[in-house]
């Protein structure tokens, strides 16, 4: 049981750290599209890690299965939501900022 506790604590700690990282990324990154990547951090790994940390502490029951469903739901809906946001921003006239503003990086190539 001690091993489970340690594993669970590890998952919760790393998940929490990634959530904070995602938040800091939101503040530090330059434009909307790069901020979406930071938000992806909290959804793709932080949330599953937090849920896994909780699952490791739960007794065997139906609730365990429900938390697993939540994890699958989060992972399955993340790309859809992210894509919809990016599409909406592009549609609304938001252009991705390319490079660091000093001409580096590949130029955009719209088709």
């Amino acid at each position: 049981m001690l091993l489970l506790e340690i594993l669970s604590g590890f998952c919760l700690l790393v998940g929490g750290f990634l959530c904070v990282t995602g938040g800091i990324g939101l503040l530090r990154l330059p434009d909307f599209f790069s901020r979406v990547h930071a938000a992806g951090l909290t959804e793709t790994l932080a949330a599953p890690l937090l849920l896994a940390g909780i699952m490791l502490q739960m007794p065997w029951s139906l609730d365990l299965l429900k938390v697993l469903f939540i994890m699958i739901l989060v992972l399955a809906t993340n790309p859809t939501a992210t894509h919809a946001m990016a599409k909406a921003a592009l549609h609304g006239g938001q252009e991705p900022q390319i490079g660091n503003g000093n001409g580096q990086g590949e130029t955009s190539s719209k088709a």
Binding site: T21, R28, L29, D31, L90, S109
Partner: protein, 155 residues
Amino acid sequence: MRYVVAAIFLAVFWIALSGHYTPLLLSLGAVSVVVSIWLVYRMDRVDGEPNRLTPSAGLFGYLAWLLWCVIKSNVDVARRIWSPSLPVRPVWARLETEVETPLEKTLYANSITLTPGTLTTDVRDDHFLVHALNQEDIDELRGGEMQRRIRRLGI
């Protein structure tokens, strides 16, 4: 036949979510299953036989590989966010693709978006538009490992 399989899956799913075994709730569940199957049947008549992703060993292998990719790129993006010089150079570029079936395209575009650091903004016939936090992320996609793995699934 596949409606029967779907009905069994739905029933198991409903029981797993509910956890109550009183006659009232069980009959409500049965009604939900029947309504769902009826809706699926009607929708199948609209779009013909839709594409279906059948679970296979290959698919789970791909998902495990994708999970590993997600972890790697999470670490990479987290490192960039925390490093004081903020080493990001966003690019928005055309990614030539060779995936053909709608299912392959969907899986590829979603896999790209699920990985932090890359984001599919548009899906066209022979290319995607991909926004990435760094040139290296695009270069890695152009290396084509993800695409090869998806095409190997043969979906």
